[in-house]
Symmetry: C2
Subunit: 421 residues, 2 copies
């Protein structure tokens, strides 16, 4: 059996060196990687063609093929992401807190690299570069375990990153691809206690479940997004319709797309007919009785309407479907979200100050929004240049994960000979 | 089978309320708990006598019985700890970071309670109060799963805490004891996905291993302490001997006690004979050849001396034993620590500025010390009033865990109608 033993060792050795690099050294190495991806563009695109052809001939759905596909524009986006990562401040070496004890010991809490990370992901080859860039910035080495469907693309990208890091005076061994394609490889990663400090699964429900069930090393979970928008009674109608449309239609397959709309009963009869007209022919609505009745008898042409049941409140459709429920109060909306939501991204549309505050305090989620689309939950949108994923776990990393997610703390205690009494 | 289902539900309901309490409300409730422990002192001590008698009649070692034992002084200490927790600033509601996106969205990163915690611990009944107090301060409810040997004590303490929280206007349901004593109970906690947000095992190696192997919920690991002191060539000799003695002898069973001494070869012949005289009759030394030779031919009366082998570098003795190794350089010391250490507490004794910096940067541990005893790695010593344990995991909680360890972050995003392009 091929094992990752030597890869783990090499990643660890690289990380020990990388942890001592200055921001300038890390940024120059990342600049080398960005330039090399540009220079190796043709090789990368040629490798991607192999993956795409194989996927199509294997009968992969076009929506999934699209995730796999690279082109010039996407490579430009990947490079721009890396350049943003370079501009981010160094997440390492921040003095997060500090105090002096009565005996004179100075206690300082400092951010440090988390160590050796591993990411297990599906399909999209841009994750290869995003994860490598963010990890390097955080002083972490990273083991990339992508989908076998993207193997040629990931090999070409990883080769370019490593060559580029070296050309920028960096440490190419800090980035490695696990490319045997065997499932044993995943198990070996998940069992690598003392070798890998954290594993990030990024993909569908089955992948996350498998990782959580089998990991013996710390996991940062990324999760599903059963996201809600609650429209409060005094919300601005046209803007509410714009936001709901955006959160549903702009990219329905994204985890931060809205899945259930909650409408205050006092505004349902004004809002829902407008919304129905806007979404007719594009989005199927699954309504509870009150919402169906608020749409009225004149159903817009092309509107698909169904009755919602309990299972609709629980479902992340990732599709052109929106569940709609009318609620009597803010409290009912918050309770519904805390019961059915996946603690991802939740929004209130309101002009009531107190309700905005109470919603943000009462809803348990990584991201709570007032008067904006849930679609902004994204490392790129947040300004991180890329993301390692969106954590729905309630540890240090919650929400879109930039380089800070791959740091931890160290206490440095400076004394003059103190002993404990 | 008895199940914890209703306990989980009640903890969750309590936590939702507790998360919205102000600092003043939480502190008043904790003040009620402190006062009630004082008032119920006789009941608590009587319950503890039952545990202690049962332990002794079952043949428990006196050192373990001592961990179980409560007396007036220890109860005073528990109450003082709670009072310190009350004085700590609120770890919840801190604006940790914030920025405005190009589209005008304000992104704020705010500390929030982690949710429902569980702690699985051994023996010492003070953990019952420490954990309950810190969790309450952090706005978290907590399930306490103590040792069956301390069951009467833990019941009496938990009853007093709950009664006291209620008397202080707080939420007594936020603290619950899992007291069936069955091992199934632990498995039920470890499998409680979606019900318990984090579990903290606090105890010996077997407990930690069992939790890590079986948990399907996030774990914060607390771990063993194979701690080192490195004495650099220019260290002050007498002070070095004081610190080593303190770190070894003051409480050898503690995880932050020193287990291996690393001595720079240039100072070995000055330091080790002094140290041998200081420790003779109290501490057994296990030396490599160079250290043995540095002690010289005149071995102090009563000194136990043995040869060290590889297994000594790996062992957390928790006893009056100290491994001693002579090293040629700072780098060799750092490499030894990173190879054999458990990333807990590591110290350098030096007067060389650069070496102090390099040691702190190069050693991967929760706490790195310059010129002080490793024994300070402790929530009480750090000023937290108590601790949930000492995390050796590299997430948000690392080192002594105060109330901050039971917080996570929430992003609050405030808009004026923004949609994603």
């Amino acid at each position: 059996m091929a094992t990752l033993d030597s890869v783990f060792r090499s990643l660890k050795e690289a990380q020990v060196k990388l942890a001592l690099q200055t921001r300038r050294q890390k940024d120059e190495a990342l600049g080398g990687a960005a330039a090399m991806i540009d220079r190796r563009r043709q090789e990368i695109l040629a490798a991607n063609v192999l993956d795409v052809e194989k996927a199509r001939s294997g009968g992969m759905k076009e929506s999934l093929v699209d995730r796999l596909l690279l082109n010039d524009k996407r490579i430009d986006g990947i490079i721009e992401g890396l350049e943003t990562v370079i501009r981010l401040e160094d997440p390492v070496g921040k003095l997060r807190s500090g105090w002096t004890l009565p005996n004179g010991l100075l206690v300082e809490q400092i951010s440090v690299p988390l160590g050796v990370a591993a990411i297990i992901y599906e399909s999209r080859p841009n994750v290869t570069v995003d994860a490598a860039g963010l990890a390097y910035k955080a002083g972490c080495s990273i083991l990339l375990r992508g989908s076998s469907s993207a193997l040629n693309s990931n090999r070409a990208l990883t080769a370019a990153i490593r060559e580029g890091l070296a050309s920028g005076g960096g440490i190419p061994e800090a980035v490695a691809l696990a490319d045997s394609g065997s499932r044993d490889e995943v198990d070996e990663i998940l069992g690598a206690r003392g070798r890998i400090d954290v594993v990030l699964p990024r993909g569908g429900r089955d992948l996350i479940r498998r990782v959580v069930q089998n990991a013996r090393i710390p996991v940062i979970e990324t999760g599903e997004g059963n996201c809600h928008i609650f429209v409060d009674s005094g919300a601005a109608l046209e803007n509410a319709v714009d936001i709901i449309e955006n959160a549903k239609v702009q990219k329905p397959g994204a985890c931060n797309a809205v899945e259930t709309l909650l409408v205050h009963r006092d505004i349902a009869e004004s809002l829902l007919p407008l919304l129905a007209r806007r979404l007719a022919g594009r989005v199927e609505l699954r309504c509870d009785a009150a919402s169906r009745s608020a749409i009225g008898d004149t159903v817009p042409a092309g509107l698909e309407l169904k009755s919602a049941d309990e299972s609709d409140w629980e479902t992340e459709y990732l599709d052109y479907i929106l569940a709609v429920k009318t609620v009597a109060s803010l409290d009912e909306a918050v309770d519904h979200i805390n019961r059915y939501g996946t603690r991802h991204s939740e929004a209130i549309l309101t002009n009531d100050y107190r309700n905005a505050q109470d919603f943000c305090a009462g809803v348990d989620a990584a991201c709570v929004y007032v008067n904006a689309s849930t679609r902004f939950t994204d490392g790129g949108e947040f300004g991180f240049g890329a993301e390692l994923g969106i954590s729905t776990q309630k540890f240090h990393a919650r929400g879109p994960m930039g380089p800070e997610a791959l740091t931890t703390i160290k206490y440095r205690i400076s004394g003059t000979g103190q002993v404990r009494q």
